[in-house]
């Protein structure tokens, strides 16, 4: 088991190498000089040159990348060009906000999708099934920033129920989380539905019914438990969607998470901040995937046994 986790973590190294190179390279090709952004409008050409020198922007690309990676080896992800603050520290300050948003979004998606999936599975091939699936598809069919704007129009402007943006109390989390969460609902609903359909046909369901379990018990205890693995896979697969959705939702709702951080940093050509954040995002994704895998093991003793054999 531990060896399996270690192996997965070692896989992170090429991920870091390749992502950092690609991002660094892309940022260096992207038009736009960070020194110009930093120097302000009144700067003289000599002063801009000085800033460039100070940031090491005059070095050839390979040298800059080399220096950056040297820093990485010692755990130093560099300093933001703009704020002059430590990239890792800044990222870690923002991360809890995004995780909070992502967590709430997944929670909302699960709360909506799993019951809906079960419902449509039970009523397979009826109009209830069709209606339920179309409802779930809606979330997947609109740009989530647009949903965010619509929610702002309805719930903030017209009804005045929730704040329009910024991070305040728990109420400020509701609209952004619904925005991101609704987009995840379609896949989770569909997976729950098909997974439940498979399970409902199994013999042990009939057995359970024959034993005199109530229908509710049959479905939740015997059905859902066995249908869970594909559902968790579906949720795991959606994690990159959570991050993507957050970039936009964070812009619409002025939510101070990593999505907005990356977007702002790109527009300021803050290469260390962009590279560092995207590397951290990739690492985060890998860790989330690992956690999802470990959860399978928890739910499915067969997989657990497999890991143990390897480990």
């Amino acid at each position: 088991m531990i060896r399996y986790i270690l192996k997965r973590l070692i896989m992170l190294i090429p991920v870091i190498l390749v992502t950092s190179f690609l991002i660094f390279w892309a940022m260096s090709l992207t038009g736009g000089d960070p020194a110009l952004m930093l120097a302000g409008d009144n700067a003289k050409p000599e002063q801009i040159e000085e800033i460039r020198e100070e940031l090491g922007l005059n070095d050839p690309f390979i040298v800059r990348y080399g220096n950056y990676m040297k820093g990485m080896l010692t755990g130093d992800m560099g300093q933001s060009y703009v704020t002059k603050r430590d990239v890792f520290k800044t990222f870690m300050e923002r991360l809890p906000n995004t995780l909070m948003l992502g967590g709430a979004a997944v929670f909302i998606a699960v709360v909506v999708s799993i019951p809906l999936g079960i419902y449509t599975a039970i009523h397979q091939n009826t109009w209830k099934d069709t209606a339920g699936m179309i409802f779930a598809l809606f979330g997947n069919s609109m740009p989530n920033f647009w949903l965010g704007l619509m929610l702002i129009i309805i719930f903030s402007l017209k009804l005045g129920l929730f704040p329009t943006g910024g991070k305040g109390g728990l109420d400020s989390l509701v609209l952004p989380a619904v925005t991101v969460g609704f987009g995840l609902a379609a896949l989770i609903t569909r997976t729950t539905r098909s997974s439940m359909l498979d399970v409902l046909r199994q013999d042990y369901m009939t057995t359970a019914r024959a034993k005199g379990c109530s229908e509710k018990q049959v479905i939740t205890v015997h059905g859902l438990k066995n249908a869970l693995i594909p559902i968790i896979t579906a949720i795991g697969l959606q994690m990159s969607l959570v991050i993507t959705g957050s970039v936009l939702a964070e812009t619409v709702f002025s939510w101070p998470g990593i999505g907005r951080l990356v977007y702002d940093s790109i527009s300021k050509r803050d290469t260390p901040m962009v590279t560092g954040s995207i590397i951290m995002c990739s690492i985060l994704m890998c860790i989330i995937n690992l956690v999802v895998d470990l959860i399978y093991a928890f739910f499915d003793p067969r997989i657990k046994a497999q890991y143990s054999k390897k480990g």
């Binding site: 009144n42 003289k44 704040p163 527009s267």
Partner: protein, 526 residues
Amino acid sequence: MKKRLALLLSVAMLAASLAGCGGGSSSSGGSSDGGATGSGHKESLIIGTDADINNLDLQKQQDATNNIILKNTHQTLVFFNNGSQGDERFGPCLATSWEFKDDTHIEMKLRDDVHFNDEEKTPMTAEDVKFTLDMAMDNMAASILTGYVQCNVIDDYSIEIEIESYNNEFIQSLSSVPLSIQSKKAYESGVEDPYYIGTGPYKFDEWVEGEYCRLVKVEDYWGNDIPEGENLAPGVAEVIEFRPYIEASSRVMALQAGEIDVCVNPPINELQYLEEDENITVYEQTGTRLFYFGFNVEKEPWNNETLRQAVACAIDRDAVLEAAVYGKGTLQTTILNRGLWGFYDDMEGFDYDVERAKSLMAEAGYANGGITTSLSYASGSPYEQIATIIQSNLKEIGIEVTLEPMETATLKSACVDGSHELFLWRWNEDSKVDFVYRDLYYTGSGSNYHHYSDPKADELIDTVATEKDPELRLAAAQELQEYLVNACPQVPLYIANLVVAYNKNLQGQYFYGGGNHDWRHAYIAE
């Protein structure tokens, strides 16, 4: 079961976050609407800004939003008055008086009762001033302090500044926020973030990037005895908090919901909602931000002056003003920002006149039009709107314009490299004319995106900067403006109005046309 699953998922998310979560940020305390304190004002003043606060190290940043915050915590040698306190725009602040000994030496007397807001209440002396100015020359702030050579300490409270050559506006430079006086001792003691130590009536309490920056009133502020209403008087509100609301609509709604007390730059199309709201005042005055349309005069065919003038005549600036800011602005002919010294708008210029434009086109050798070109600008409002109007205007005289919206960073690089053809940009200056003439038009200067170079213009710019006789200087300034308008490297479009919306009980605010407002004495009356 459902609950258990949800719980499990949140645990999973948490586990992922634990992977490297060292410090973690403290969430906002939500101390927003503090109760009344009995002295007739609300405890806190909350200001919604339109941009993130990104760096509070004075000399290493150039950002308007940072400067607005730093104005409360730090003080400059010279005070820049917004025009409400007499005609003398630059008055004493930490320096009490100054005098040119000769062309290159300025003797300056300092206040002797100022101390820094550190534990020991270290007095501010000439050493700190010298330290601050010397340090500026090694930092980004050097661009403001051009011409500075060195600073000699005469005694504890007087200094002599040496400059390269006489300049009419050197003293003005010393009113810039990045040149606020910092503590030499703080830097030498090796304390973390020494730039946080200032002499202002407020000091930093907490800054959470992207969320808020909170300042608290300094209890033993050195100027506690200075009477209310004076520039250096102590603050009123116990807490001033700055919160970025990047999304303009959110900022407006936050003001209406009472989450913030001040909303800077509310979008013009939403002003109606604020004007209807009886708890809110919408303040409006002529601003200093000039939006303009420029040519890269090094590129064919825009090196043709007559052609440039034809384009100037073809632009319907009323329509531009209407589309960009719903008419909330002022048209002008000259290239100088309104309100600056020597502003001169009494010239013919190039008003919207399609017939004249067509005849100028013919004169320039393009009777049938047939020019295709591109217009670069920073994506988003108001450039998007300006560009759309200009594109259809220029079509009338046979110029096909492709719009090229880009990110600001890309635009700036393109403008510096000279790979652009036409462009839109803005210039915001409310104190120094040299920062307009020299930066935009002098041969080879950094923001001369026109790549304009003309010996006569250069000479006039130098005259305005160094001529001591006020009459000769004014004459040179007027000639220069007329010369530049005629040469037409840029078409000045409009000066945007300054608009601020706030809680109707706000008092003690001090607005600048350039947007660099002073909140030190502002509070919400109760």
